[in-house]
Symmetry: C2
Subunit: 355 residues, 2 copies
């Protein structure tokens, strides 16, 4: 839904930064901000599996709000996972304790690809859309925007093909290199699923959308250009229709930053493997940037963590359109007190600097 | 040992390319070219553990020569591993079947760091030096140069601290961020161990040396600059004394390529996550380059593999100082026939182009 200029949420720091408008302080949120490092979350996880939390809208809403209640964050992100869209396509997903996600019927042959469905997101992912509606109701009065998200076509394709996490992406790259026709069909289906899912999230009330291409850094720039870019672009084109700003995030994207930009996004998310200023220089001034503290820094003593956060902020100083975040998801066991201090420091430091 | 200009090995394609001299065809070798993808190697591994193969000079010599007997490679690399130098320092190393290497007494405290020894490589790594002498005798008549190698200080430090492979390097980065004094002492010791080990390999007969910083891509450019670069530079300075060219290799080094160059090396090795031409542009013309085919491409059908190899070679065309290699080690199960065709293609294609 297009945002009215008088809507206080549309004028929030986070959404202003997405539009590269001046802000009173740099907005901050943290990837995986609802997660295992929080006692409130671990408490719920004792009673429910991850998929149960995701599929019960009231619980997903509760988890989404946990970090908002604990820290002065500038945006919420709906509690969900990148993989459930694969279930609606016909894949059987399980989160195996201690091992991570498993797909019991991975996509290996042209027939497997042909069988994949492209379902309506309201039908296959209605639980997350409903959770978004619940969270929006809660956040309206607080003036905090909500981010919806999806895994990007490449990351979802890799999971669908490999069936689990992978070190070398032998099967996924194998299909890309040896059977480009199947790869193309798979990526076309995924770009439609991803695009429509993001669009549905925006229509359900998400005021921004993040495309997570977590694994894209395993590719050469040329493979990204040929075998991924067109499909990420297509997903973004579909999602754009709602008018919500789109954050395009990947890790290890140093070799393909320009192409990621070309695929689309109002904000580009980068990890800590590149200097924020160098990344922004390459991306150009007509795009916002999100990042990029090493999540491990949250384990450091406060003076060291503070110095590192300051170094990130200094690289973005004087230029509108920076959203402070980690370079990847917050890690389990991260000290909660450091999260609180980090969030407050981002506001204090940039609020002072830009009165 | 300084190489005489009349020595046929000193005039080999590989060593000429290291010196950025014109060659009759682009030299090629493959990281982990002696390894599990070869039946001859698997046969030996049925009877011996990895450490047994490394520590018996005759066996290490035999394994080193296996790929040279099978393929038209332009260099041999001594069969060894990056971790044995840690044993001489006092760490207890085991390769656990199906899990990879384990260090039973990892380095976690200032006391652990203080206890680490800096032994003479002849005493602690004499088996590899002896293997080098044996291989040199075998290769002399074939005119093929031999590469010695070592893990770089950061990669060794990470292993020493983590005690095994790691996803987030929480403990290694933890020491770097929270106890920089211990980190400094550890890295000083490691740079001496690494430098002297490389120097000893050159003195034993290795005509080139490769520093493997396999894990350095987990770091931000600033962490590399402050906490790694000085120690890699020190190791290279020590090793240089023998006059053998040094290949400085890391993966995921896109954000710190200039600093890797600054740390030293006559040849910089890059992985497939950066276009070779873009990397060389950034490194400057006064250094040679090694790389950078995605190892997964060796699983592709030949026309696809050939096109990808050609794309790498075309990026280096017309500029002396390219050594063709993969962007990381060759993978287990790689089809042997594809290795043979790749090696021959590199020579044929570049031999035609530059008569």
């Amino acid at each position: 839904m297009p945002q009215s200029p008088n809507d206080p949420i549309a004028q929030s720091r986070f959404l202003r930064a997405c539009r590269r408008e001046p802000v009173d302080a740099t907005p901050v949120w943290l990837m995986r901000q609802a997660g295992r490092y929080m006692a409130e979350y671990r408490e719920l996880r004792r009673k429910h599996t991850i998929l149960e939390l995701i599929k019960a809208p009231e619980l997903a809403c509760e988890v989404t709000l946990q970090p908002l209640n604990a820290f002065d964050l500038d945006a919420a992100i709906i509690f969900a996972d990148i993989l459930p869209p694969l279930e609606g396509m016909g894949l059987s997903l399980e989160f195996v304790k201690g091992e991570g996600p498993r797909i019991h019927n991975p996509v290996r042959t042209p027939q497997d690809v042909a069988r994949l469905r492209v379902p309506d997101p309201e039908e296959s992912l209605g639980f997350t859309l409903e959770a978004i509606r619940l969270v929006r109701r809660e956040l309206e009065s607080r003036g905090v925007p909500l981010i919806g998200f999806s895994g990007a076509p490449f990351t979802l394709a890799s999971y669908a093909i490999e069936g689990s996490g992978s070190r070398h992406y032998l099967r996924a790259k194998g299909m890309m290199m040896a059977d480009p026709r199947s790869w193309h069909t798979l990526m076309e289906k995924l770009s439609q699923v991803v695009g429509e899912y993001l669009l549905a999230q925006a229509r359900a009330g998400a005021q921004a959308l993040q495309l997570f291409d977590s694994w894209v850094g395993a590719l050469s720039p040329e493979d990204y250009r040929q075998h991924v870019l067109p499909y990420s672009r297509r997903a973004i084109q579909i999602a754009r229709e709602a008018g919500a700003p789109i954050i395009h995030f990947g890790t290890n994207t140093n070799g393909m930053l320009e192409q990621i930009r070309e695929a689309g996004g109002d904000v580009i998310g980068v990890d800590w493997r590149i200097d924020l200023s160098a990344a922004w220089e390459r991306l150009g001034s007509d795009v916002a940037i999100q990042g990029n503290l090493d999540p491990v820094a949250l384990f450091a003593p406060w003076p060291e963590l503070k110095a590192r956060a300051q170094a990130v902020l200094d690289q973005a100083a004087g230029r509108p359109g920076h959203i402070f975040n980690l370079g990847h998801g917050i890690l389990p066991h991260t000290p909660v007190e450091n999260v609180r201090r980090l969030v407050d420091f981002v506001h204090e430091y940039t609020g002072q600097q830009r009165p």
